[in-house]
Structures are given as C-alpha cells and as structure tokens.
C-alpha cells in the first residue's frame, strides 16, 4: 500500500486521538499500515473505507477482525474502544457473510 493510500484514510480533528494499525484483506492480496485513524470512527466505517480503497466489492458488508483475538469488531462501536492502545494491532477486512 502506498503512502498515498494511507493518507486517504487519515483524518485527525484537533485534539482528537488517533490510532494506527496493520490492515490486510481476507485474501492477503492487500496489506497496509493505516495511520491517523480517528478513534471515534465506527469500526464498520473504517472497514468499508478500506474495502473501497482496495476496490473490493461495495455491495458486501465488510467488517474488521482482530487477528490477535479472532473476534470481529462491532461495526457501530468506535474503533478506538475496540483496538485500544495496541501499537501493532493487526486487523483483517473480512466480508460478514452467513453460510446458511
């Protein structure tokens, strides 16, 4: 992932905390260090933005999965509350699908 793609995600209002993490798509085709993400952003919005940045299908509900715990992040909850202050959090953009 280029520096440019990282910058696209960046948004830091004055005084707000931000976080950085390692992101990859579920196939491992794309990976990047994403920085300056607003902690107040819902995890679902971050997942959809990453999917859009990587030109993944937009008619799929994408979610973030924490690689260290295997748990999906809650889409509506701020990402900063779920990732915490881990310096090297690794998140995977994963389609939220139901198989039957």
């Amino acid at each position: 992932m280029s520096v440019g793609e990282q910058a696209v995600m960046a948004a830091q209002p004055p005084g707000a905390e931000t976080l950085s993490f390692q992101a990859a798509d579920v196939t491992g085709t794309h990976c990047a260090t994403v920085s300056d993400v607003q902690r107040a952003l819902p995890a679902g919005a971050v997942a959809q933005s990453l999917a859009s940045m990587w030109s993944l299908p937009q008619n799929v509900p994408w979610s973030l999965r924490n690689d260290s715990t295997g748990a999906f992040l809650e889409d509506d909850v701020p990402i900063g509350q779920q990732v915490g202050s881990e310096a090297e959090a690794r998140l995977t953009v994963t389609p939220r699908t139901h198989l039957g």
């Binding site: 793609e5 696209v8 948004a11 209002p13 004055p14 993400v37 107040a40 819902p42």
Partner: protein, 321 residues
Amino acid sequence: MPVPNMNLSEGLEALGFSRVPGADTWRHNGVSFAAEGAWGVLRTSAAVAGDPLAAQWGRAGLWKAVSVGMRHRRPARGASVGARGSRFRRIFELPLATVAEREGDADAGAAEGRAVSPFEAAIAWGLATLDGQCPPGWRAPARAEVEKHVPPGGLTMRSGAHARQGEVVADGGRLALRMAILAHLPAGLSECRLAWLRQLLLDAQDRWRLVRLAPVADAGDGPVEAEVDLTGAPPWLLDGLVPVAASALRHAVAWVVGPCAFLAHAVREPRALALCSGARDVARLACPAVSSARTPLLDKPAVPPLREGPAVPLSHKPERG
C-alpha cells in the same frame, strides 16, 4: 418543497422588517428576508471584505459568506457590486420546517415579556448573531444534551475510501458541529494547489446550506474543517435543527473530501493542476494575493472528478441570470 404554512409577516414585522412592495421580500436595517422553498433566508446587503472563508469561520450563528449569483441574488442590472472581493455577501439560512413544527408550542417562544412565535424567535437569533458574537447571556447546553439530537451515525461520513467522524463542540458560549476534512495541510504546498483548494472550499460553502468551510492558511500545516455553528440558537430549536445540520455537514464533507485529499496530497504531482486552463483565474478568484502568479495554460481544467454524488437535498442550483 413548499414553504410551511406559517404567518411570516407577523413575526418579521414584529422584528422591524417591512415588506418590499410587489415582492415576497422583507427588509430591515440592511438585512433582507425571503422564503425560498423550505428555507428562510436572511441576507446582508453589505459586501464581505477579505477572505470569505475567514470572514465567518468560528463566529456565532449560521451566517456565512456566499458569492453573489449563487445563493445571494444578483444586484439589479447596472448596479455596481463594488470593488474586488465584494462579490461575496453574508447569508443566514434556516430550515423553516424546524420552526413550523414548533408553532403553537408554548415552550418555543417567550421573550421580553411577550409571546413570540417560533419563527420570530429563530429570525431574532439570526439578527442577534449578525455581528458574529454570542448573544449576551446565552449558554451552550451540555454536549450530551445536544448529542441526543444527532441520529445514530449522523456525524459519521463515509465517501469512497474516506471516513470522517464529526463532533459536537459545546463549550460555554460556543455550540457547533464540526468535522475534519483534512488533518493538516502539508507544509510547502504550491500556490497553485492552495488556490485550487481555496476555490474548492468556496464552492462547497456556496453549494451546501448551513455549512462553513475553514480558511486555508498560506503556510499550510493547519487542519481543514467544516462546521455548522449553532451558537445562540434557542434551545427548543436544537431538536429539529441539529439533525439537519449534521446531515448538511456530512453531505458537504462527502462532496469535498476527495478533491481536497487529492489537492493536499504531498506525493502525487498535480502537474495537471499547474497546467490547466483557468488556473490563473482560480488563483485570482480564490486568493487575490496570488493573482499575479504566472501559470501556463492548457485547454481543459483539471478539477479532479467527484467520486460520489450524494443526494443533494441540502444543496441548491446556482441562480440563473
């Protein structure tokens, strides 16, 4: 959308406005009022001096500068619009539905010992913030109280690869909804890119109701933000106005964030911007100080394509003529 069924004349006349003969416009002390669709619009006749983005940024109320002919009516044919920079006028736009739904509500109006209609109280708010100052004695409600009026996700903007989270600013004499467009401008942006950025922000401010865009510092490195300032608003009005303001903010930022990120990107070389036709004009319009910059010309402007076309209930079309 039709104008909500309200008696506008009564409230306006109580505030000292008088109707312009033969027109649905009222005037009072250099301020005019007109109902346009679902919006009530106050306009000043005085020209805005200096940077139209800086003129109202951070000041109290919904006032902002827009260009003549966009949402500010053109002056009569033959009338002078004044010197350079005077093509901007100030405007205060109020969604009339937010006051119409409170008509008859006893909580919505009592001032100076007499009952006032919600519409009159809302227009009085506009007049009270005409100078950009917080009305005396007004205090912002608690932030949590304001956030109750924001619908779920109402301050989350997502447009393509861009995601932004807005916030409620409630601090004593200040109440606003604010959203970052860019965290900071890279230092050393070229004059050409700064000029395009200014023009883009001016265009967004013209196009989207309620929303003000931050002035761009010449030196860069500051944030670029959008805001809707509700300082001085009657408390009962927030119930209806905050959701509209949040929606306006989301739409405006979604409209402008992609091109802004492109212009501010330090890696991509925007050679097309420097070469495009009209770059010199853009520089002159957006920042008179750089109008002397010599810019090579080509055939077509290179304004980056907008990635997403959100529904535009809060935008408007430029006035013809």
